[in-house]
């Protein structure tokens, strides 16, 4: 009799607890990650590509059961590449949508306006490609996934000048030219500092308005000063213009390139083709054997599939892997500290070396990478009108830093 009652009680207790467990397990509250992203406007090409990379991360994580056994959801709005939209969006995300975690939009102009808000709420803020934003704010929970290095403004161009120093005979004069816009000017300022520190003589140092149509007068003016090396800070349309003009004018420089955004984008690489040969430019990831990090090839395959027909970069080598990575470090931290506590997450992010699709990531005290990994890459053997050649190694050889080097420089820059 007692055994029967005991059994009945056990079954009842079991049923009750199973009921309640299944009740909560049926609807686990999702973890909401909020952000704004440039889906229209000047940076939309990159923003949309980044979003695709981020969604792949979300799907990968959810396939494995989510974070802390909860599914991950995104809440995001288009900031239209307008800084004025960012404060409103982030306050909506935090105060109305009540997201659990935030990450940044893409680009300095879109990251900076969110800083005061996340600082006041003491949130951990993984950021996507903004140059030296934290120099102004000095926020201890800011983390920048762009591998510029602890001193972003100078680390950016250091490799270019160090490569120049290694050549014999050593080049003496440098021309610096940049677009009149945030990133390019910062890159040029860093180049100036590096040039002075390393003993180069600056013979040309001017900027141009981004609306410039024809670059031949500028390249000619540069040529007239006979520089040994030419450092350019530019955005996609002007990068294209400069490369084309350099070829048309027949620029005779020993080293050409440096900080040209856009030469990492598939459509532009395809169009410029052999005109790119010899150019030494920055990049963050190229399909060279030295950079074959675990997971990156699988990620790119998924990205390239998802990017079809969306009007974004078809290869996705530049921004998407880092968009995946800045969520990876956040997600791994959440799992490691087993909570959504911002302080714990930030502390973990500061002291850990993460394994991501872009390799090992370690943040320094100011939120930038502890060690710079701005690659100096040289275009080689590029054929005309061929997109697929860029999918594999050999066309963008890594020259610097030493630990990622995959080939020797072809010097001087030949047309």
């Amino acid at each position: 009799m007692r055994l029967q009652r005991l059994l009945l009680g056990a079954v009842a207790a079991f049923a009750l607890s199973a009921f309640s467990i299944s009740g909560t397990m049926a609807q686990p509250k999702p973890i909401k990650i909020g952000f704004s992203m440039a889906l229209t406007g000047g940076l939309a090409g990159a923003g949309k590509a980044a979003l695709i990379g981020m969604e792949i991360w979300r799907d990968d994580v959810n396939k494995k059961g989510g974070l802390l056994s909860r599914p991950v959801e995104f809440v995001y709005y288009d900031d239209a590449t307008q800084p004025a939209n960012v404060p409103g969006i982030y306050t909506k995300l935090l105060d109305v949508d009540k997201v659990d975690l935030v990450v940044s939009s893409y680009g300095t102009n879109e990251i900076a306006p969110a800083m005061p808000i996340v600082m006041r709420k003491k949130l951990t803020f993984p950021s996507l490609f903004g140059l030296a934003v934290n120099d102004e704010f000095k926020y201890d929970r800011y983390f920048q996934i762009m591998p510029a290095g602890p001193e972003p403004k100078t680390d950016w161009s250091k490799g270019f000048f160090e490569l120049a120093l290694q050549q014999k005979p050593q080049p003496k004069t440098v021309a610096i030219v940049a677009a009149d816009a945030e990133f390019a000017l910062n890159a040029a300022a860093g180049a100036r500092t590096n040039a002075n520190k390393m003993g180069f003589q600056i013979v040309y140092d001017k900027t141009y308005p981004p609306s410039t149509t024809d670059f031949t007068p500028i390249v000619r003016a540069i040529q007239a000063t006979n520089p040994d090396i030419v450092y350019v800070g530019s955005y996609p349309p002007d990068s294209t213009g400069m490369v084309k003009a350099a070829n048309e004018v027949g620029l005779k420089a020993k080293l050409f390139g440096g900080g040209m955004v856009g030469l990492q984008f598939a459509a532009i690489q395809k169009n410029l083709g052999p005109l790119l040969n010899g150019v030494v430019n920055y990049d963050f990831w190229v399909p060279e054997p030295t950079l074959n990090f675990p997971g990156v090839k699988e990620f790119l395959a998924k990205y390239q599939e998802a990017a079809k027909g969306k009007g974004v970069d078809p290869l996705g080598h530049y921004l998407p892997p880092y968009a995946y990575a800045y969520l990876e470090v956040l997600g791994q931290s959440v799992v490691a500290v087993k909570s959504l506590d911002q302080a714990k997450i930030a502390a973990h992010m500061h002291k850990t070396t993460f394994d991501t699709v872009v390799g090992k990531v370690k943040f320094g005290a100011n939120g930038e990478w502890a060690k710079s990994r701005v690659l100096m890459v040289q275009f080689r053997d590029v054929q005309k009108d061929n997109l697929e050649q860029f999918a594999g190694p050999g066309k963008r050889v890594v020259l610097y830093p030493k630990e990622w080097k995959s080939g020797e420089i072809v010097y001087p820059y030949k047309q």
């Binding site: 288009d78 409103g88 102009n109 005061p116 816009a181």
Partner: protein
């Protein structure tokens, strides 16, 4: 609108704004309202020259940015408090407006509009090359440490913008009802005839451009604190210029309340779309609203209302 009713409504709106800051901590609404109010202020300012006087200003972004960059420069140099920065922004905007008036003495219609566009581009190039305020690199402005009794600085900025907008509406109304306003309307309708009737057209035009410039400078002055990072691209934005024209046109340019209605309608729609539909469609909204309203209601909402009242049996 009768005086008492008008001033009463202004005070009521101010009180409502203050009540809002007490009731809500949620910052998002204040961010959105700030932008709507900024748009209203710009629309009211534009209408002083555009609707009242009949001169179309394409370069509104130039005046706005002057106000913003005056704040950046003075804040960096002297660390002035916000009210003084606003006064300075207004003064600079007004001076530039006065200058514009002088330089464009003989220009009418579309020539004047092109001149304003040229002026905005020249100012933008000057700012781009002015390294003290960061040039094209942009400038960071840390948000104000003090925000009086409010719960956050965005609440304070919201109340500031509310005050400025209400003041501008009051000025606009005073202008339109005054002798000055009648002179402006005469210029708008037929400048030559006005000149012949003894209206001091030059003086009135100068007053008009100065008032417009000052109001737009005032609208731009708190902007750096709102957005924290200012660069010429975002300050000299095409949208600021387009909204400044679109809002009064949709609301109706002939009456002082037109730009207010237009700004509230278009501004709210933009804010709502920003956080619901999002994406390219934001820009489409402005385009479609403009085309639809201008085609179907060329006199704006005010014009529609007037037609409706006239059509009603008395």
């Amino acid at each position: 609108m009768k005086s008492a009713a008008f001033w009463g409504s202004l005070l009521a709106l101010l009180a409502a704004g203050l009540a809002l800051t007490e009731a809500f901590e949620n910052e998002y609404y204040f961010n959105a309202l700030y932008l709507i109010l900024q748009g209203t202020l710009m629309a009211v300012a534009w209408n002083v020259l555009g609707g009242f006087t009949g001169y179309v200003n394409f370069g509104s972004a130039g005046f706005f940015a002057m106000g913003a960059y005056t704040t950046v420069a003075l804040n960096k140099a002297f660390g002035l408090p916000l009210p003084l920065l606003i006064l300075a922004g207004g003064a600079v905007g007004g001076l530039v407006g006065l200058g514009l008036g002088y330089l464009t003495l003989r220009l009418k219609g579309v020539y004047f509009a092109i001149a304003t566009l040229a002026m905005a581009i020249v100012i933008e190039t000057l700012v781009n090359n002015w390294s003290y305020v960061g040039g094209a690199k942009g400038s960071y402005l840390l948000t104000p440490e003090e925000y009086l009794w409010f719960k956050s600085y965005i609440q304070m900025l919201f109340i500031v913008m509310l005050l400025l907008t209400l003041a501008a509406v009051a000025v606009s109304r005073m202008l339109s009802a005054s002798r000055l306003g009648r002179g402006l309307a005469a210029i708008r309708d037929d400048e030559v005839a006005a000149e012949c009737s003894g209206v001091p057209t030059l003086r009135l035009k100068l007053i008009s451009t100065t008032v417009m410039g000052a109001m737009m400078g005032v609208a731009g002055a708190p902007f750096p604190f709102f957005v924290t990072f200012v660069d010429p691209v975002s300050a000299f934005n095409l949208f600021i210029a387009v909204n400044a024209i679109a809002m009064p046109m949709i609301g109706g340019t002939s009456h002082w309340i037109g730009p207010v209605i237009g700004a509230l309608l278009v501004g709210s729609t933009q804010e709502v779309v920003k956080v619901t539909v999002s994406s390219e469609l934001n820009v489409l909204i402005v385009g479609v609203m403009l085309v639809v309203f201008i085609t179907l209601a060329p006199q704006g909402i005010v014009g529609l209302a007037r037609k409706y009242w006239r059509a009603r049996p008395s």
